[in-house]
Every structure is written in structure tokens, then in C-alpha cells.
Symmetry: C2
Subunit: 657 residues, 2 copies
């Protein structure tokens, strides 16, 4: 046996795992131009099954990278939600038919498309924005992690505290064995009911003399799933317990006379368990089916040999009776044991981070897995990017854990409540105390929907979110109500239609907040036809144009957007707006893409954005958004106090000279 060569190289960010969290992080790296690598132990990307629901906020995020249109086009759109419960005769009947999501909170609604396609869109986007320099390295996994503890605090450019040994598997090693020889794709190998095979893969690779390499990295992110190898190296735990509830999952083309098979349905049978129907693309339907006849043994684990497509469809047939349900084509199937667990730590010394299933696991029915995982990485990616580039203070990395662990905990709590309501037997009547009250279930479901949309995430006060008593009071003045269409500190900047001043084209304002690593100063200029307001705007703009602190950051790291409320045709871009708001370039002329107006469009109605955002139409306001579209600062359009607030916010975030 000859010893394999071990090469050594450097990178700024090493990403372990190329599922939705890892790919989202790699996408940020590509858009920010960071020297990153992403490795995955599997030899191929997945082809079917797995997570498939995309919530509204996830679509907004994908849109900020330029991916949402492809997803939107291919996906099945969830429009309607039906609830089926036992009637007095014990047979199921439709008790409710409601919109899947309330109107007016996002320009998107919930959709379903299998994870493999979404990963494909990520890969294409990473390729494009990294100019073909960043690829997923498949069949590669970390074997050791050494952290130079004393170097962790020093975030200067030439410091690499992490040393990771990577092993390159052969193709054979990197392909997971399927549990059956049938042509149906079987998801059990990645189910939480199967032991992790990472160590096996490493051991087998060693026997086969796979090559290894050493990477010196500044930061590392473990997006390596529920069995996270990275988490184990750090000694962090997932806290929580499994339940006795076992569910099967089938992706089939159903043959059925059930009338709502193309709507999202929650079906509670009288005594055969519950089922959720999620209609998908290409005539597929995903069924989540409670397996009431399969129980965990004394060790807390169920016997997986009893679970087959045949046992799962039998359970479904009992639940959906008296309707018929069969299939000829099954695309994928799996089973899982419900359990909610959350990681104790998301971050080791701001050098090694965990994201996605590595820090939270829960049941898949609420369609949250892929979404919350992507949102973790969406929160972390730009922070890493800007710290690597030496633009922002390294301390912002600490907000990853404070912001995301709370979301994970909320998710676990939600899933815990929701799973029990869904897996429980429906109450026969009001005296049936061990049964689940169906009215209570419906209320929990609809409330849960809003949580599940991802739009209600509200990050707490930090270096990045200027929430203090003064700021909260300002917000209270500016916003008129609490719904998700209003600008609120710590929440995502909502989207309403505005028009480009120069050409009158309508835009969803949020689409102007691309994920390019830039903060945004959004000036709601109010009624610029008023001399008082125009004077305020000019004075504020003069402060902006002359700030010595911001000179280094304006445009390159702080994009400046303006939206006024005067009639579009009554004002002129060059005459009525200070040049700092639409800067002149000697080769490209004036900028025509930075000034917007809340006015009636020719073909697409009136956005009424000021009212919906909760901004005073006369006085306007000033908003700072972070690179992830979350609102970091809100203040008055005022050359004194408002300006100090804006400059102060950036002084607290950027490195300065």
C-alpha cells in the first residue's frame, strides 16, 4: 500500500453539504465573489422525492437571486385548502374549503416542486454568478477538523484558523445503496429511521485508498443534515425527543374518485388516522399518511421492514374511505417518526457554523424543512461574505445564532403542537376529551400557515437591527398597522408596486433589493412638490453626498433607492432630485434605475405603496435594509436626527477606515 498524496490549499469559506442550506450558502458566495468550496459526500444530486414545499418568503429570497421565475413556472401552485373530518355517520366529509394563504401579504403564494429541481436551479445560478469557478464537489467529505483556538478571534485577511482534511470517495462509495432493488425511488436511506452511513463511507474509502487533501479555511459551515458530522466534531447536541407517531410518504399519480385530490387537504378519519394531500407537479400527489398500525419498539425505534409502499397505501385507503384510492405509478416513498429537536449551538467562536437539519429536525408536513434551512443560510451567507471582504465588523457573525436559533425554537414549538393535533384522533363530541377538537385544529392550521409562510420572522435588537425604545417609538409613528405589508424593524421589507420615475414601468419594489451583498438606503421622499419637503430632501441628500464615513461605501456597498409620492408626470428626474440619488457616470450618463414613484400605472393599476407600507405620503421616511432585505433602521427624512440615525447605523456595522 502506497500512501496517497495529500495536497494543501486555502479557501475563505468551506461549505459541507450541498442540500438546500449548503446550496443557498454557495449561492451567496457566488453573488458576493467569495473564494469558497462546497463538498458533498453523495456522488449525485437527488432526482425525486424529499422536501418539496416552497413558502412565500423562500420564493421572495429565490427571486432576489434570480431563481424564482424558473421555480414558479415548473411548480404546482397551492391555491386552496380543504379540511375533511368525520361526520356524524363516521364517514369523512369536507368541512372547510378556504384559500391556502391569505391575500395581500406577498406577491407569491405557496408552491410545490421537488427538491431536485430546486437544487438544479441553484447549481445553474452558482455557475453563472461565480463565472464557473464554484462547483459542488461530490463524493467528498471531511475526515478531520482542527481549530486553532488562539487564532479564532483574529478575523484579518491572512488568518486561517481551520484545518480540514477532506477525503475524495470513489464513485461507488459515494452512491447510497437503495434498500430494495425495485425501480421505485426509495427515500428510506435518508430517512431519520436509518442510521447515518458517513463513517462507513470514510472507512470504506480508506480501504480503497481514496485520496485526501488538506484545506486551510477561515470559516466553515456544516449544512450536513440531521446526522451532521460537523456538529459532532464541535460536540454540540440536538435537544428533543421522538414521538410514537409514525408516518409514511408516497409520491404517486393517484387514481381516485376523491373530489379534492388536486387541492391541499388535511383529512382526519374517525379511527384510521390522518392524511395530508399535497398536489404536485407532473400529475403527482404527495400523501403524508399516518401509520397507526406501526408502533416503535422498546428502544423507541420502529421496525422499518414492515413499511412498504403497499402497507402505506393500505393505510391511506382506510383513511380516505369510502372514496377509492390506488395508483399505477409511484415516484418515491419514505417513512419517518415524528420528533422535534433543536441544536444547543449554531456557532463555534464565529468560525464554524451549523445550518439547516444540522440544528433543527421536525416533521415534514408543514413544508418547513427546506424553507427554514435555506433561510438559515440566507441569514448567514452575506454576513460571512462581508466579513471576509473586510467591509463589516466580524461581530455581526454573532447575530446568526441569536437570530436563527429563535426561529428554530419557534418552528419546533409550532411543529410539536401541530403534529399532535394532526396525529390525534378527532373528538367524537364535546365530551370526548382525549380526541382533538376539529375547530381547534382548523384555527391552529390557519395560524400555523402564517408562521409557515416565513414572513412573520422578526429579528430582535442587535448591531444589525436598530431596535431600541426610540426606534420602536418611531416605527409606531410611521406604521399604521401590524400586518405583514407594513415596514417593521427586524422584519423583511415588504413588496408593493411602484413605478420607475424615468420610464413609468411598474416594479414590485422588493425586486429592486437584489441579493448582491449591498445594504440599501431607501428614501421615501414624500411629496417632493412641497417646497418644505423638497428642502428636507435636498438637505438630507447633501449630508449623504458629503459624508466622509460613507464615501467609501456609497453605491458599492450601500445602494440608494428613492420613492416619492408626487404625481410622476409633475416632476422631472434631473430637475427635481439631487444627483446623489441618481448619480452621473461619465461613460454611462445619469442613472435611471434608482428613483421610483408611488403613482397609478398605465396597465397594472395603483400600488398604493405609501399607504400599504405605512409611510406618511407627505413626509416620507428613511429605511435601511440589510443585504437580506430585513429592515435594520427606520427614521425620519430629516437632515439632522434622521441623518445621524442612518450614519450611526452604518458606523455600528462597517469597519470604517
Amino acid at each position: 500500500m502506497t500512501k496517497p498524496e495529500t495536497s494543501e490549499s486555502k479557501c475563505d469559506v468551506l461549505i459541507v453539504g450541498a442540500g438546500p442550506a449548503g446550496l443557498m450558502l454557495a449561492t451567496w458566495m457566488a453573488h458576493c465573489g467569495i473564494n469558497a468550496r462546497i463538498v458533498d459526500k453523495r456522488g449525485t444530486k437527488i432526482f425525486s422525492g424529499q422536501a418539496d414545499g416552497l413558502q412565500m418568503r423562500s420564493l421572495e429570497v429565490l427571486d432576489s437571486f434570480g431563481i424564482a421565475d424558473r421555480v414558479w413556472k415548473e411548480a404546482n401552485h397551492l391555491i386552496e385548502m380543504c379540511m375533511w373530518n368525520p361526520g356524524e355517520d363516521g364517514k369523512i366529509r369536507r368541512s372547510d374549503r378556504v384559500p391556502d394563504m391569505p391575500d395581500g401579504i406577498s406577491r407569491f403564494y405557496q408552491i410545490v416542486l421537488h427538491q431536485g429541481r430546486i437544487e438544479r436551479f441553484f447549481l445553474d445560478n452558482i455557475k453563472k454568478y461565480s463565472k464557473d469557478t464554484l462547483h459542488v464537489e461530490r463524493g467528498v467529505l471531511p475526515e478531520s477538523l482542527d481549530i486553532s483556538e488562539n487564532l479564532c478571534g483574529d478575523h484579518s485577511a491572512d488568518n486561517y484558523p481551520l484545518t480540514v482534511k477532506l477525503r475524495h470517495l470513489t464513485d461507488e462509495e459515494a452512491t447510497p445503496a437503495q434498500s430494495t432493488s425495485s425501480t421505485i425511488q426509495d427515500g428510506l436511506f435518508r430517512s431519520n429511521m436509518v442510521e447515518d452511513d458517513t463513517d462507513d463511507l470514510i472507512r470504506r474509502s480508506k480501504e480503497k485508498q481514496g485520496t485526501t487533501e488538506i484545506i486551510k479555511a477561515k470559516y466553515m459551515v456544516g449544512c450536513d443534515g440531521a446526522h451532521s458530522w460537523t456538529r459532532r466534531q464541535l460536540g454540540f447536541q440536538l435537544e428533543g425527543e421522538p414521538t410514537d407517531f409514525i408516518w409514511g410518504v408516497l409520491d404517486i399519480i393517484p387514481i381516485t374518485d376523491f373530489p379534492d385530490i388536486r387541492s391541499r387537504c388535511a383529512i382526519h378519519s374517525a379511527s384510521s388516522g390522518s392524511m395530508m394531500v399535497i398536489p404536485r407537479e407532473n400529475k403527482l400527489v404527495r400523501l403524508y399518511i399516518q401509520l397507526t398500525e406501526i408502533k416503535p419498539d422498546a428502544s423507541g425505534r420502529a421496525d422499518r421492514s414492515k413499511i412498504t409502499p403497499s402497507t402505506i397505501i393500505s393505510a391511506a385507503q382506510k383513511i380516505i374511505a369510502p372514496y377509492n384510492l390506488t395508483y399505477e405509478y409511484c415516484d418515491w416513498w419514505t417513512a419517518y417518526q415524528i420528533g422535534q429537536r433543536v441544536g444547543t449551538n449554531f456557532d463555534y467562536k464565529s468560525r464554524v457554523f451549523l445550518a439547516g437539519d444540522a440544528v433543527h429536525t421536525h416533521s415534514p408536513k408543514a413544508g418547513q424543512g427546506m424553507n427554514v434551512s435555506m433561510q438559515d443560510a440566507f441569514n448567514l451567507g452575506w454576513k460571512l461574505g462581508l466579513v471576509v471582504k473586510g467591509i463589516t465588523q466580524p461581530s455581526i457573525l454573532q447575530t446568526y445564532q441569536t437570530e436563527r436559533r429563535k426561529v428554530a425554537q419557534d418552528l419546533i414549538d409550532f411543529d410539536h403542537r401541530f403534529s399532535r393535533l394532526f396525529s390525534g384522533r378527532p373528538a367524537k363530541d364535546v365530551l370526548d376529551e382525549t380526541g382533538v377538537n376539529m375547530t381547534e385544529f382548523k384555527e391552529a392550521f390557519l395560524k400555523g400557515n402564517l408562521f409557515a409562510s416565513g414572513l412573520s420572522v422578526d429579528y430582535g435588537a442587535s448591531q444589525l437591527v436598530a431596535k431600541d425604545k426610540t426606534a420602536e417609538a418611531q416605527v409606531a409613528q410611521i406604521t399604521k398597522n401590524e400586518d405583514l405589508s407594513v415596514i417593521k424593524l427586524g422584519m423583511r421589507f415588504p413588496s408593493h408596486q411602484v413605478l420607475n420615475q424615468a420610464d413609468g414601468r411598474p416594479w414590485q419594489f422588493q425586486t429592486r433589493l437584489k441579493s448582491d451583498g449591498r445594504f440599501r438606503l431607501i428614501i421615501f421622499a414624500g411629496n417632493v412638490l412641497s417646497p418644505t419637503q423638497s428642502a428636507l430632501l435636498n438637505s438630507f441628500a447633501a449630508k449623504l453626498a458629503s459624508s466622509s464615513f460613507l464615501a467609501k461605501y456609497i453605491y458599492s456597498t450601500i445602494d440608494v433607492l428613492t420613492c416619492h409620492s408626487a404625481p410622476r408626470t409633475a416632476v422631472d428626474l434631473l430637475r427635481d432630485f439631487p444627483e446623489v440619488l441618481h448619480p452621473f457616470d461619465p461613460k454611462l450618463g445619469w442613472d435611471y434605475e434608482s428613483v421610483y414613484v408611488d403613482d397609478v400605472s398605465y396597465h397594472q393599476g395603483f400600488g398604493d405603496a405609501y399607504v400599504k407600507y405605512g409611510v406618511d405620503k407627505e413626509k416620507g421616511c428613511v429605511v435601511v435594509t440589510r443585504p437580506d432585505q430585513y429592515v435594520g433602521y427606520v427614521g425620519e427624512l430629516d437632515p439632522d436626527k434622521g441623518w445621524e440615525g442612518v450614519e450611526g447605523y452604518f458606523k455600528g456595522v462597517f469597519v470604517g477606515k
Copy 2:
């Protein structure tokens, strides 16, 4: 000199020229699965400049192939139209500001994107749908065409009346020489002011011993431009005369204080000529600039050596004064002499066809060139496809010339009027009879806009359009007004929002009419809750299900779509609609994508489709659309007369047994 090898092969359709017309035709071939080839004498596709406007109907057509979303995303959208005329002081001022297009006639509006990108989207689509079997063969051109006259009338499958010799150029031969050595792309080499170089290319190729091949073809389409080699082989002429008006074209990033530079503008100066402003993507603006100081010589041709970017921008500066206009970046430029010409024949014995610039040339300002060329090919492609496949009678090929020559003639007439109004000097006052009245110009412009949208095309009575007195009378009963949102025989099927019955998802109904080579039987089922109406629907469906003539064609060549007007939640797909309208498949279950409803959506309002289409909400009607979405038949939903009309239409079009 050794004689090169000459291979021989067969194909069903040979397309000469890979501009917009040729690529549209190739796209049809790919979607219909036809054995076709497409050759182009140029060695590369174009990279900038040329035609760039896409009208509403073109976008509807691109959408039917699955291309429109890419175009829509990258293009600049034209929202507003401004007119600038001399004031009393002789200086230009804005006289009008109006929407670029009226509202409500299409889900699209006019956009601008350079031809090279649109060709790219076509190429990707052809590759995808032909499963990588159909490619543009560049640097290849026909050298001889032999037509076996006596075989032309026999359209049976094994008959190839055309023999074409193709020459394969070397890379060097296939690359056009630029007229200057500057890095600015110069369009003069494809301008109508330069002689055609096809024969040169052939001659040079012979000297260099390029290889040749023989193709036996059933049909051939010359999409080979204004100098069409194919047209010359047939001995057909273009009729018409050039004018004295010479215009320059600049694609620049403008540096200007002209306030409407990002709107479409028509500028008439008092005495320096006219200019049109077309804002484009990537900060570019296209300027069409009248060159009043350059006149044709005695031969009718202008001296092209006098035309440079510098002389063109000078002319523009005089027109736009007192505003400033310069540039640092020029992407492309060209010049042309206005002339309108139309081909005498579009078709030789239903075997060789001409499309696009090969049969009509005109000035580019109305943005019609690429659009009408694509529409020619869109009209012809499916007819060739269905005849090649032996499905439709070969006589339908004759409708290509009858339908498209009228459109070309209308275009030429429009352009003739419009060019004179645009190139003329503005009238000083009402007594100035040689000047152009600006009110008249505005009216012509707005009316021309509707023509230019491509939506007003109205094909006459033929085998494919069941327009006779009875049919016209039926239409008059069914339609309530004459605007473009109503269903009219001979015109394109308009688009309004309807909902899928099974899942409630809103769709623009026209998007269900994909360009897949199928006719469509669209059953407006009316109020299916009425027992009378339900009985009519069932009887009509029974006729459809039992027709021995249609049995061979239903679903494979005739897609069946239903749209009813009862409340969506009051009816059930399986219970209330005959199975022929949502057929059962043993492997895929029932079809859920064929039955729609005109009802209020949860998130996107009410389409009110019956009212907009002009269909009676109680009684409905029956519509047949051709594979190109044009309405071929309209009749009552009636198991006797209406059914006979439908079956009779198809008996007149299909081959039968």
C-alpha cells in the same frame, strides 16, 4: 484540383436562413417532430443591433412555445409614448404623453430586446424540443434548386420533388467582412444599402474547394432575407420603389438632459428632420435619425461613405436641440433608405415557400420587421408539419399565401403612410399645406400602434376559417362587441383569466393553447347547473365520444378544453362533466387539466371571461382554434347543428381514412 465528395440525403422540410422567420419555422418543426434541416450562410449568429422590437402578438406566440418568459425578463418594457413637436418658438416641446399601448387587449405589452438574444432563446428551445436533433447548420448555403414539376402535386410520404445542392463554406468564407476596422459593430453590411454577397460567397467557396451535398426535400422555405436566393430561383419579384428618405440608426448609451430619454419618443424638429427614441435593455437607447443632408444620387442610391456614427449623431443633435445629446459607448449603427416592397408570390406549387424579408421589406421604425417575419413562419410551420405527418389535406398549404400576403400588403401600406408622416416637415400652421399636420400624425401613430400590435390580423374565409354568411351571423349573435378581447372568426383566440376546476388555479386561458400542432375544441359549457344546459352538454359530449370520424384525432390532434360559468365550488369534475371532457387513463387516472371555470379567484380577482369573450353565460358556445390559436369555427353548443358544424369543420381539414 480533386472533385469534392457529394453526399446525398433526404429531409421533409429544408429551411434556408436562420433569422427570426427561419428559427420560428424550425421551432415548429421541433415541436411537431418533423425531420427538418435549417441552414444559414453566415458563420455566426448576430451579437447586437438589428431588429429589436417585439409586439404583443409576437409575445403571445413566443409564449405558446415556452420562450416568452425569458424575453419578458431580459427585455426593456415600453410603457409610455411621448411626442415632441416644434412650439411657436420653433423649439421642440412635449405635446403628448400617452400609454404606449391601450390596456386590456393582451396580457403583454410592447418590449425591446436585441435580436441576438431572441435568436438564442429560439435555439435553446429548438434544441430542447427536437431532443438535440435539429441544429442550425451555419456557413451552409444552397447553390442549386431543381423542382420535379410533375411530382409537386403528389404529397404522399415517399415523394421528394425538390433537389437542393448545398455548399459548406469554410469559417473564413462565412464571416462577413466589416466595413470598418473599428470595434463598433457596424450594421451596414446587412443594410439594404449594400449589395448582397451570396454569389460572392459561393464563388469564393468554389475556389476553395468547399464540400457540397445533395438534399432531396419535400418542402423548402426561403427565409433568406431581402436578397432571397430562393426567391430568385423561383423568378418571383418584390414590387415597390425606394423613397428619397434616408435614416441612420444608433444603439448608444446616451448622455443627455432630454427628460424623456427612457420613454419611446417621436420627435419632429422644425426643420432638421425627425427622430425616434426607443429605450432598450442595458442602458442602451436606439435612435432612428432622419439624415436630411444625405440624398440619393441619380441612380437612386445614397453615397454610404458619407454615413458614419459621427454624421448620424450630428443630425440627432440638431433635431433634439436645445437639449444636449452625446455618447461614449456605441453598440451598433447602420443606415437605410426607406422603401416598401412586397413579393408577388409567397408560394411555388405548395412546395417552395418564402417568408419574412424575402417577401416584404419596409422601414424598421414601426418595429415590424422581426414580428411580421416570425408571424409568417408561425402561420406556415404547423401547416407543413401536419401535411408532412399525413394528418391534414395538402390543400391547406395554399392558405399560407392567401393569409399572409394580405398582411404583408397591409403592412406595406401602413409603413408607406407612416413613413411619409414621420419623415415630413411639421406644418407651421393650418395654411402650411406641404407640412405634416401633427394632430394627423398623432392619430395615425396611435391607430398604427394597434395595427403594429399584430393583434388585429383577421384571416379570410378558407378551408381553415369557416367564415360564410351563416357563420358570420352566428358570430354576430355570440359576440357583443368588436374589440380585440372578443372571440372572432379568423382572429387569434384572445386571453382572459379562468380557473382550473380541479384546483382553483388561475390561468390565462390562451396559455392552455400551446403550440404543439393540435387543433382545439373549446367548449364554453355555460351554466352547467341548469338541467337544460347540462343535458345539451351531455348530448354534445356523447356525439364527440362516439364520432367515428374524430376517433382517430381526438386528444392526439384535437385537444378538448372546457370552460363553464357555474360557481366552481357548486360543481364537481367527476360528477358533473362527461368523461370525454376529462378522459380517464388506466395509468394516470382522470385528467385534471382540461376543465376550467369563469369564477372569482382567491388571489387574482375575477377574469369575467365569458363577458370579455362575448359568450353567453347561460348557453355558452363551441369554438375550434387552429394550431396557431386562430379561430376557425364558432357555433352553438348544440348536439345537432353545432355538432355538425364542428365535425364538418374537421372533415374539411383532416385527411380522413
